[in-house]
Amino acid sequence: MAVAKFDPRGAVTFDVQRGAVNAAPEERVLLVGGDALDEACGRLGAEGTRALGLAMGRAAGARIASSLGGVGKVREASLDVVVTYLAGELSVRGVGLVTIERWGRAMVVAVENPACTNAELLAAIIEGAFGESTGRELGTATVGVGNPVRVLLASPASAARARALHEAGNDFATVLTKLQEGA
């Protein structure tokens, strides 16, 4: 099956005359450095970082849903198509290079070359993007840090368990195994 190509042309426009950058006709954006984001997240705390990330991710998710014809169409599309658009949209926004790993039923989003080092911000961006584009309530947990950052996409309850296992020092493979075993 041919995979729909994500076309980044025109995804971001620079209105130099008005001093504005737009990621969509109604979405004005501001170019912020990754270091500044990291510093802001350090001061915002967990709640503020999550709120910021969700807002950023929802904007991307809304764009994905719009591109594919709505939330229903996103659900009907193949995984390849959705991932193509998700990775393209987040790449255009500079979040990083996104791939999806499927470990059994578990879905892990890997972000290579992330724009910032704050993994919780990235997890919230992923959560916002998937939640907004699919209309589903879901949870995320960082299960691997560094490059790539790995974010588990699961139910809110499973995500909370995964977060606790990761914070206990388990690597992402161990976290997934223990979740599968019902730990």
Partner: protein, 167 residues
């Protein structure tokens, strides 16, 4: 005093010669010229010397003409060190309706946004990066999960997401 009469006589003779020469026309004209020569001006007070020199400005009527005809003045902008071309930026002189002052507007910028070229290679990179990755080197317990997923028939994203959220 010795020799005083001779001295007085010599002085009287000298005085007579001077008076005679002064009466000549050439010397009288020179004296008159000295009398009408311009005198050096007194130094200006310090405060006056520090007054800014007035700079010629266009008359108001000239600016009004510019307003009516919307004359564009083109200023040459020196190229940025990293730039490879020069750009002529138009400057517009306009008169605000409320006040009589003239203002120079910021350089006008073309209406359209600059085109950002996207190469085919960049598109391919995005497409390649967005493929689903199935790790090959994995721990044994997780390998079982992968086999399970590989055996499952192709389903839409909604089904896959449902599975993930039941995990």
């Amino acid at each position: 005093m010795m020799g005083a009469p001779e001295t007085v006589a010599r002085l009287e003779s000298l005085l007579a010669r001077v008076q005679k020469r002064a009466a000549e026309p050439r010397l009288q004209a020179a004296a008159a010229a000295v009398a009408v020569a311009p005198q050096p001006k007194p130094a200006k007070p310090q405060a006056e010397m520090m007054r800014p020199t007035p700079i010629a400005v266009p008359a108001a009527r000239d600016l009004q003409k510019a307003d009516e005809s919307q004359v564009d003045l083109h200023a040459e902008v020196p190229p940025h060190p990293e730039s490879s071309s020069r750009m002529a930026v138009p400057l517009q002189v306009r008169k605000p309706p409320e006040s009589g002052k003239q203002v120079a507007r910021a350089p006008a910028i073309p209406e359209s946004s600059p085109e950002i070229p996207v190469s085919e290679a960049a598109l391919e990179t995005v497409a390649a990066a967005s493929e689903v990755t199935r790790p090959q080197i994995i721990d044994a317990p997780v390998a079982a999960f992968v086999n399970e997923a590989a055996a499952a028939p192709e389903r839409n994203f909604g089904n896959v997401l449902d599975d993930a959220l039941e995990f």
